[in-house]
């Protein structure tokens, strides 16, 4: 009995540790958050009862690489939100270091492009730090597993930032399709060139 209690306590402790600590890799349990969207509403992943998972993208207004991926991010939402995997975009850039990434500017961009997905403001940069995001864009594909948010894939959207037509490895699309078919994800993590997240200056 004592052994069982001990191992349960240990398991519980481990689950808290892996949930709390970033940076997240595939297999980790991610934490939820409560961030303001461009409409002024507070959004948490727990609000999406019907979702099977989430395509969390750390992005921003200003980074030229993020701009090159903007249409592809919009396309991912169009393709997968109806299948249970909506895009959740998060801007963690500091508005003092990068004025073009202020909340006002986020609202303007989302409206002008007609974003179909949530665009959230991580003002304290806590979520970027917790997830371990370093550049934009940076994707964390999550799936709901037994009440937890399991990290399934971390990294780039595809292997050609410059020219979508020449991207022959579509990492996020392939990963979501694999999840939808209950198959193993072939590539669970990648790295890509991007703009550093604009961290607050001391």
């Amino acid at each position: 009995m004592k052994k069982l209690l001990f191992s349960m306590a240990f398991a519980l402790m481990i689950s808290f540790i892996s949930r709390a600590a970033g940076p997240y890799s595939a297999g980790d349990i991610a934490s939820d958050f409560s961030l303001k969207n461009v409409k002024g509403e507070m959004i948490s992943l727990s609000q999406f009862a019907n979702a099977k998972g989430f395509i969390v993208v750390f992005s921003c207004n200003t980074c030229p690489v993020a701009k090159k991926y903007e249409q592809r991010i919009m396309d991912l939402d169009k393709k997968f939100s109806g299948k249970g995997y909506p895009v959740i975009a998060i801007n963690s850039n500091d508005k003092v270091v990068s004025p073009g990434d202020s909340y006002d500017e986020m609202q303007k961009l989302a409206k002008s492009k007609g974003y179909s997905f949530q665009y959230l403001y991580d003002e304290s940069q806590e979520i970027a730090k917790r997830y371990g995001a370093t550049n934009t864009p940076h994707v964390y594909l999550l799936s709901k597993v037994e009440g937890n948010l399991k990290v399934e894939y971390v990294g780039a959207i595809d292997n050609n930032a410059d020219d979508p037509a020449n991207a022959d490895k579509k990492y996020v699309e392939d990963a979501v399709n694999a999840l939808l078919k209950n198959q193993q994800i072939a590539v669970q993590s990648t790295k890509a060139i991007g703009c550093t997240i604009k961290w607050k200056r001391a």
């Binding site: 030229p64 370093t134 050609n160 990648t190 790295k191 060139i193 991007g194 703009c195 550093t196």
Partner: protein, 164 residues
């Protein structure tokens, strides 16, 4: 279409090497070329700065690299600016930028966009964020990777530390 771009690239290089009388090398590189640089065994300190004209903090620190590079004997400290500018921006953005800012350091334009295939060759811990600076001398087993911005003083201090 791709062949046309290749021809344009070759012509651009030829054009640049004719124009450039200062001895500065501006060349396109692919992964094998990058690997060759990274495996160099000369007893020389290499300073590789990874940057792009579209990256504001990269552009801000570039003049520091240009200034500090002039303070060292190129036989002892070799600077290379590895540009990650996109192919469509080389002629109308990168080249004018180099001219306007009087950058004389050698530039290696990394054309392989399959980033995941080579990022870790630069350093296993690099997440792909730029600017980033790699300082190494393989013959002395020195390898230090610095992701993020460097100011003039920090850059000089790092170089001096590894020249000792």
């Amino acid at each position: 279409m791709r062949k046309l771009f290749q021809i344009q690239f070759i012509l651009l290089i030829a054009f640049l090497s004719v124009l450039n009388s200062s001895g500065q090398k501006i060349e396109y590189i692919k992964v094998p070329d990058l690997e060759k640089i990274l495996k160099n065994t000369d007893n020389r300190l290499f300073v590789l700065n990874l940057w792009a004209t579209w990256c504001a903090p990269c552009v801000k620190e570039l003049p520091y690299f240009e200034k500090v590079a002039k303070e060292y004997d190129p036989g002892k400290v070799k600077f290379i600016l590895v540009s990650l500018d996109f192919p469509s921006q080389i002629k109308n953005q990168l080249i004018p930028f180099l001219k306007k800012n009087k950058i004389s350091i050698d530039v290696a334009i990394m054309t392989d966009l399959d980033y995941n295939s080579w990022i870790e060759k630069v350093d296993p811990d690099w997440q792909g964020n730029i600017p980033a600076t790699l300082i190494f001398n393989n013959s002395r087993k020195q390898h230090v990777f610095y992701p993020g911005e460097l100011d003039e003083k920090e850059l000089r201090n790092m170089i001096n530390k590894y020249l000792l």
